[in-house]
């Protein structure tokens, strides 16, 4: 029930809430638990295993009983939840449950990164003092506290400081702290993890703090009964002061879990802080002096104190409890004597909250005087202050905090001002701000060393150690009885300490009881390991804004919107979205692919090949370097020619492949597979920097600068000629390249057909794509690309290979130079296990017969009339009459028309991943099927020769015949095109569309965001793209204009206003379209950036003009502070859309 007066609650306002459907009320300043107590709610849940009724036990995050569902949060401690208007809460029976079907909460969580000199965790007397002492030095200080108000235990007691209520001291200190520009105060913020190198993660109730700020008073926030949005802070601190206080612990005695049994400190908190009487007639069972203070405060509030039981006086203990029919406390038993009461306040002692200290790997010791584990040796740049190291009492805590804060600031490199008689920078000359106030608290004597009241076997079964896990003294006895000596084993065996509270109230009792059972001291037994998080954290908070479309970067090409407009289906290749096929009028993928394939084989088709990795390799020794990296020779490649190359790891296994072109004597353009682009760039730089630094060569990624359209098919030439009129196509042999600015054209082919890969800067990619299609090219996607290459027997790195495949295994010994003295991987090719027999090699497979659909071939059936050694029959489906009838009829060699399940042809054709065995019924794997398309299958198989009959096992046993992997045009007769296939260009082709190079056709990566950027701007932050800036990456040690990206590495950027500083065109590599430029301006830009950028953005650290490469959200960026409040973010064009969405989302959450 509520007291008449008193407490830090606002009685002028009433908050309505429900608990288990009952409509109840409380006041601002209440926790859910205090409001429930005020409303007379005694039972707040049932225990997890035994189903025993349980009541509110604590007044903080250590609560083991009052775990409730609040709104859409399935399990939170009612003692740590601020009451809000409209809150809906329910008790739990047993465990909290995540309901996958429940609607996602609408709370908006985010993250933030902050660096500081001194981080103070805990805002009680010690933490406030530490923050003040550190703040006085001008240090960058962050002070966190989980509660809505600073003050810690001072808010729960009636201690006088300098003769006045403690809140006056708290107010003066917090006001002083708030005046320091470099001090940040974060109430409602709980540190949950202390990680390597002084990295602390904390959860802030951000919506509640913002609401409190808006109202200028106590927090509401998170309307609609939810807990509201939270922020996951990531602090990197030079020094840390832990002022995390202490948790009171209970004693194990029979019936110590009844509703009505409560920690003495909690009872004291409820009467003093919340103005609530947790009972009318109390027995206090205390091993500590603080229990007596609680009794005095209860009495002062009008609670009748029936008896104080202190084992230090004559060994008196509570030996049992009495309860009514509901199980609620009605009295206690003291050595056979019954005393009626409705509240039993228990104090077994205090456990310093060493959780974060222990997470930091600090070492604990057991203090016999305190009967508690306390910090002994720090492992990181950290110091504990106040009750968390056993310095109890307000005055002692303040003194300890001042010392810790001053020393922390000094260790962080700031001049100490502690005890030197001067005031700090925020001083007002009104005396020493770091004076320890006079305190009226009595000195504390040592607690009784009592962990469990001896109760016999029956009593032990009702003497609870861990209330949340229903672990009793009897359970611990059973664990010890099995021979367990380690408290870690006991924990896992009994589950003591594994609840949501992680044993905050039970851990020390467990240790004490186990020590007693083993005849050891608690210090010898030790504690279990403390692990993050200190308090439970919702998954949604950990995810922050990385949800839904922002959960992972989506990389798109310049043509992406065009693919979407055409109804393309996409597949994920790494982070890229690639158009997989372009179904027309509801076509199945199978039919679309057959139509696209036919266009590429018989007419002209176009593919967006922009995602291939592109690296410009430049320098005097570029050829020499490539000779060392590739298995074949590139130093002899004529300028203007292209060559396919394969690179291996040092283990000789295929790492990547691609075509590399010699642009000039000292310049090559390397292409990589889409998925390996970053890996290959890393690989090149690793070898250059760590092994061959003497080679003069540099590497510049131009993947995003160039958009690529492959124009493919026997009739491709007229289309390509129209697209790039500046090139002489009469003099354009296979495997060469031509340049006609701004386009580069490469005559290379991944399909076996005549093909031109046209590269243009990103800005023109969409226009080029539209132009190709306007000229009659049929768009095709990656699925058709795979079919076309598989028909040619071209292996795909990552599909045919898996890191255990050598070039020789792929049948590509021809590409492995025997003349070069060495290349990476060469020596491994002669190791016994790579050179020996029995290795899996790339082969083609065709079904040996046509079984009836759905009927597995039986081992006894002889193979049918297959086509051994006749790949042409199966390999020319594009030319067969069957495929030419426009219906996509399955071609010869295909079992039946395939059926699509989740995009994979799963029935009727061979299955990727199928195991290859020698004969039906055989279970010895010879290899597996790596690629399967209608009529075409590739496999890695050992000991197989063309003509062998084998079995592909995918649940069915399908006889197959081994064939040469080149199914299509083994004589390479088609790569120069087929004159008969050339069709006249569409007469209606619109020159407005086909002339993609017109300046007005250029589109910057974020052009589509212009309106949303404009709309999102506020007085705090504006956002815009600065499009079409000319940029070049330049290498060399000589000082250059522009942004320094790394050692000898420059990015020259033209000035967006004046065009000044435009890079010279013969200098370095043109990367103008490689990155998009986003400019954020305004006084709150840092508040946006800090939600995704881990570096120290303090304006005195990241000064005007500073620039660096780092991360923003999940994208790599160049960050440039162009003015005091102007920041430019340069992000790769393919990531620009993701980052723009992320930034808009961040602006929304400001």
């Amino acid at each position: 029930m509520r007291r008449e007066s008193g407490g830090r609650i606002d009685r002028s306002r009433v908050l309505r809430f429900t608990f288990d459907g009952r409509e109840l009320t409380g006041h601002p300043g209440d926790t859910l638990a205090s409001a429930l107590l005020a409303c007379g709610v005694r039972i707040v849940g049932r225990s997890v295993d035994l189903g025993r009724p349980r009541g509110i036990f604590t007044a903080g995050v250590e609560e083991p009983n009052a775990l409730v569902r609040v709104g859409d949060e399935p399990m939170v401690a009612a003692t740590a939840v601020e009451l809000r208007e409209g809150m809906r809460a329910w008790s739990l029976r047993g465990k909290g449950r995540l309901d996958p079907a429940a609607a996602a909460g609408d709370a908006r969580h985010d993250k933030a990164y902050l660096h500081c000199d001194v981080l103070v965790v805990g805002g009680g007397p010690a933490g406030l003092a530490a923050a003040l002492a550190a703040g006085e030095t001008g240090a960058r200080v962050v002070l966190l506290d989980g509660g809505p108000e600073f003050g810690g235990d001072l808010l729960s007691c009636r201690t006088l400081l300098d003769g006045a209520p403690a809140e006056e001291w708290i107010s003066s200190v917090t006001a002083r702290l708030a005046a320091f520009p470099e001090v940040r105060l974060l109430p409602r913020t709980t540190a949950i993890g202390y990680h390597d190198h002084n990295y602390v993660v904390a959860v802030e109730e951000r919506d509640a703090n913002r609401a409190a700020g808006d109202e200028g008073g106590q927090g509401g926030g998170g309307g609609g009964g939810t807990l509201g949005g939270r922020r996951l802070w990531h602090f990197r601190a030079g020094q840390i002061v832990l002022a995390t206080g202490a948790h009171e612990r209970s004693v194990a005695f029979p019936g110590n879990d009844r509703p009505g049994v409560m920690l003495a400190s909690a009872a004291r908190t409820y009467v003093n802080r919340y103005g609530v009487l947790p009972g009318r007639r109390a027995v206090v069972f205390t091993c500590t002096d603080s229990g007596h203070e609680a009794a005095r405060d209860l009495a002062a509030a009008g609670v009748e104190i029936a008896e104080i039981v202190d084992p230090r006086r004559d060994g008196a203990v509570v030996t049992g409890t009495l309860a009514d029919g509901e199980g609620i406390l009605t009295g206690v038993v003291i050595g056979g004597r019954e005393v009626a009461c409705d509240l039993l306040a228990v104090s077994g002692g205090w456990n310093p909250a060493v959780h974060l200290f222990s997470q930091s790997r600090g070492r604990l010791r057991f203090d016999d005087a305190l009967q508690a584990f306390v910090p002994e040796v720090s492992a990181q740049a950290e110091r504990s202050a106040g009750a968390c190291r056993g310095e109890y009492g307000a005055a002692a805590a303040v003194a300890d905090g001042f010392a810790a804060g001053a020393r922390a600031a000094e260790a962080a490199g700031l001049p100490a001002r502690w005890q030197d008689g001067t005031t700090g920078p925020g001083g007002n000359g009104g005396g020493d701000p770091l004076r320890v106030p006079e305190c009226d608290e009595p000195a504390q004597r040592s607690p009784a060393a009592l962990w469990a009241v001896p109760a016999g076997d029956d009593g032990d079964r009702e003497s609870f150690v861990d209330l949340q896990r229903d672990v009793t003294v009897a359970d611990l006895g059973r664990a010890a009885g099995t021979g367990m000596r380690s408290v870690e084993h006991v924990k896992r065996y009994t589950t003591a300490g594994t609840g949501a509270d992680q044993g905050k109230t039970s851990g020390a009792v467990t240790v004490g009881v186990v020590a007693g059972l083993l005849g050891a001291s608690p210090g010898q037994v030790g504690t279990t390991t403390f692990r993050p998080p200190y308090t439970p954290v919702a998954f949604g908070v950990l995810a922050g804004r990385d949800r839904g479309r922002l959960s992972d970067p989506v990389r798109i090409t310049a043509m992406h919107d065009r693919h979407v407009a055409r109804g393309a289906f996409f597949e994920n290749v790494g982070q890229w979205k690639r158009a997989r096929h372009y179904p027309a009028d509801g076509e199945s993928m199978e039919r679309a692919v057959e139509r696209e394939r036919r266009a590429a084989r018989t007419g002209v088709a176009a593919m967006d090949a922009s995602t291939l990795g592109k690296i410009e390799v430049r320098g005097r020794d570029a050829g020499e370097f490539l000779d060392r990296i590739y298995t074949n020779v590139f130093s002899s490649l004529p300028v203007g020619s292209c060559r396919y190359g394969l690179m291996c790891g040092a283990d000789g296994m295929v790492l990547d492949d691609g075509v590399t072109t010699r642009l000039a004597g000292d310049r090559y353009l390397m292409t990589t597979t889409t998925g390996n682009a970053a890996t290959v760039l890393d690989w090149l730089e690793e070898w250059h920097q760590t092994e061959w630094p003497h080679l003069e060569v540099s590497f510049t990624s131009v993947t995003d600068h160039w958009a690529v359209v492959a124009v493919v098919g026997p009739g491709a030439r007229p289309v390509a000629e129209t697209l790039v009129p500046g090139v002489d196509f009469d003099d354009f042999p296979f495997m060469t390249y031509r340049e006609s600015a701004p386009a580069r054209v490469f005559r290379i082919s991944f399909s076996g057909e005549l093909a031109y890969e046209i590269n243009v800067p990103w800005w023109y990619g969409a226009a080029l794509w539209e132009a190709a299609l306007e000229l009659g090219a049929v768009p095709y996607g990656t699925e058709t690309m795979h079919v076309l290459r598989a028909e040619k027997g071209f292996a795909i790195v990552g599909q045919e290979t898996d890191g255990t495949v050598t070039p020789q295994d792929l049948g590509m010994s021809w590409i492995v130079s025997g003349r070069k003295p060495d290349f990476v991987g060469k020596r491994s090719h002669s190791r016994p296990d790579t050179a020996g027999p029995g290795r899996k090699r790339l082969v083609g497979l065709v079904p040996a017969r046509l079984p009836e659909a759905g009927v597995p071939a039986t081992p006894d059936e002889p193979p049918g009339s297959g086509t051994p050694g006749a790949p042409e029959a199966a390999g020319e489906p594009g030319e067969s009459g069957a495929a030419g009838d426009g219906e996509g009829t399955p071609t010869e060699g295909v079992l039946t028309e395939g059926v699509l399940t989740e995009g994979v042809l799963t029935e009727g054709v061979l299955t990727e991943g199928a195991q290859i065995v020698a004969a039906p019924g055989d279970r010895r794997m010879l290899g597996h099927l790596t690629s399967a398309y209608p009529g075409v299958a590739l496999a890695m198989v050992r000991d197989a020769e063309a003509g062998d009959r084998l079995v592909a096992f995918d649940g069915r046993e399908i006889p197959v015949t081994v064939v040469d992997p080149v199914f299509h045009d083994p004589g390479n007769t088609r790569r120069d095109g087929i004159p008969d296939a050339v069709r006249p260009l569409p007469a209606a082709a619109d020159p407005e569309v086909t002339q993609w190079w017109r300046p007005e056709r250029a589109v910057s990566p974020l052009a589509g965001f212009a309106e949303r950027f404009a709309a999102a701007g506020t007085a705090g932050v504006t956002i815009r793209e600065i499009p079409f800036l000319r940029m070049r990456e330049v290498r060399g040690e000589a000082p250059k204009e522009g942004l320094r990206l790394g050692p000898g590495w420059w990015l020259t950027v033209e000035d967006p206003q004046t065009g000044a500083g435009a890079p010279a065109v013969d200098d370095g590599v043109d990367v103008s379209a490689q990155r998009a430029v986003v400019e954020l301006a305004g006084p709150r830009v840092r508040d946006v950036l800090m939600t995704g950028c881990p570096i120290d953005l303090h304006p005195a650290v990241f000064e005007v003009g500073a620039h660096t490469q780092t991360l923003l959200a999940r994208a790599q960026i160049v960050l440039h502070r162009a003015g005091p409040d102007v920041y430019r973010v340069l992000v790769r064009s393919s990531f620009a859309g993701y980052l723009a969405e992320w930034l808009l989302d961040a602006l929304e959450g400001l």
Partner: protein, 94 residues
């Protein structure tokens, strides 16, 4: 989240880096002359101490510099190794 000191960029969060394994494993001068055993030693075998370890890191999301540090594999304490391979430009201030 470890804090790793890039010789070029200064201390940065671990997520900006790629781990490069044991440092000081030089590419053999004449691979052809290496025995199968010696070659396998170079390709496959690395130390895995409980304690101080000389290892390489690559500032992949920053300045793209390879460098090496000494780091304690239990405490994660880091000690810079001056003049380590890949740290050639460490003296070049920003």
């Amino acid at each position: 989240m470890q804090l790793i000191e890039c010789p070029w960029c200064g201390p940065r969060d671990e997520i900006e880096f790629r781990y490069g394994g044991q440092a000081g494993i030089a590419y053999p001068g004449d691979p052809a002359a290496a025995s199968d055993e010696e070659w396998a030693e170079y390709v496959f075998m690395r130390d895995n101490p409980r304690g101080w370890f000389h290892e390489r890191w690559f500032h992949v999301h920053g300045c793209r510099t390879w460098f090496s540090i000494r780091r304690h594999t239990v405490t994660h304490e880091i000690e810079r190794t001056p003049g380590s391979p890949g740290a050639r430009d460490a003296g070049d201030p920003r």
